[in-house]
Symmetry: none
Subunit: 153 residues, 2 copies
Amino acid sequence: MGRGKIPIRRIENPTSRQVTFSKRSNGLLKKAKELAILCDAEVGLVTERYNKVKEECRQLVNPTADVKFWQGEAARMRQQLQYLQQSHRQLFGEELSGLNVKDLQKLENQLETSLKNVRINKGNHIVQENKELQKKVTLLHQEKSDLQKKVLT
Amino acid sequence: MGRGKIPIRRIENPTSRQVTFSKRSNGLLKKAKELAILCDAEVGLVTERYNKVKEECRQLVNPTADVKFWQGEAARMRQQLQYLQQSHRQLFGEELSGLNVKDLQKLENQLETSLKNVRINKGNHIVQENKELQKKVTLLHQEKSDLQKKVLT
DNA sequence: AACACTATTCTTAGTAC
DNA sequence: CGTACTAAGAATAGTGT
């Protein structure tokens, strides 16, 4: 989709993350609008704020406005927290009463994907650890035989 | 973007409109998800109206003190959010780089348990639905045979 | 930061099942 | 309602300004 393929995982470099956010946001918005027009649908796209907003740079010049700002921030985050906590419980398979069969199927698929990823990752870790242990074994063997030679002389 | 270019205007044919909606919705969802992961942002597709926060209507008594209060609230919740989001990504099997083999094993076990719970729950749902459908079938059979009797007399 | 370029990858319209 | 295929076309990662 560009000069090279990039893996879908958090972009660590803040600059490219910002650039990608900007570019892809535009693309997403365009597609959402198209869908809305093409299919006569109410498609709302909420890019609920990029996490690294420049709120830290905000000056405390207008206390009254700032109260509103921070109240908004608090409210937004409280909502997100509630959503995440709910989602968490569902991911733990704990509070599933509000879900229908289709939702449950989606959740099941998500969990299967997650499980697969975790297993792949674990596998890689173990392979890596094995390699390092193998190196150590080889090294120790070498040292041992060196010492034995010294002892025999 | 396909076998031919289509103009961005309402698709009149209801069938192709539905098909396009389905296809493009999936695409949009995928891209939204990718953006969320890539840029660590909250990207949501919403169909409902955004609820206005009640707290914005709150009367401001002591703006200067309130700023500090709400800043504190926001900071506290931001911390919680970050923790939850991190945990969330791990549950999705997305950001596992910080975990060792033992942690990964724990996560794997958790996901297996969750998956089991979700499957049990889904199974129960389907059984319940089946029972209700069975009832309906029986009832309709009864009504049908009653009607047939009436017709024959 | 915001735009231009472009090779490469991704999406999707049309089609068939 | 899906799913699969394919070619046409769109999006975009990396780069430069």
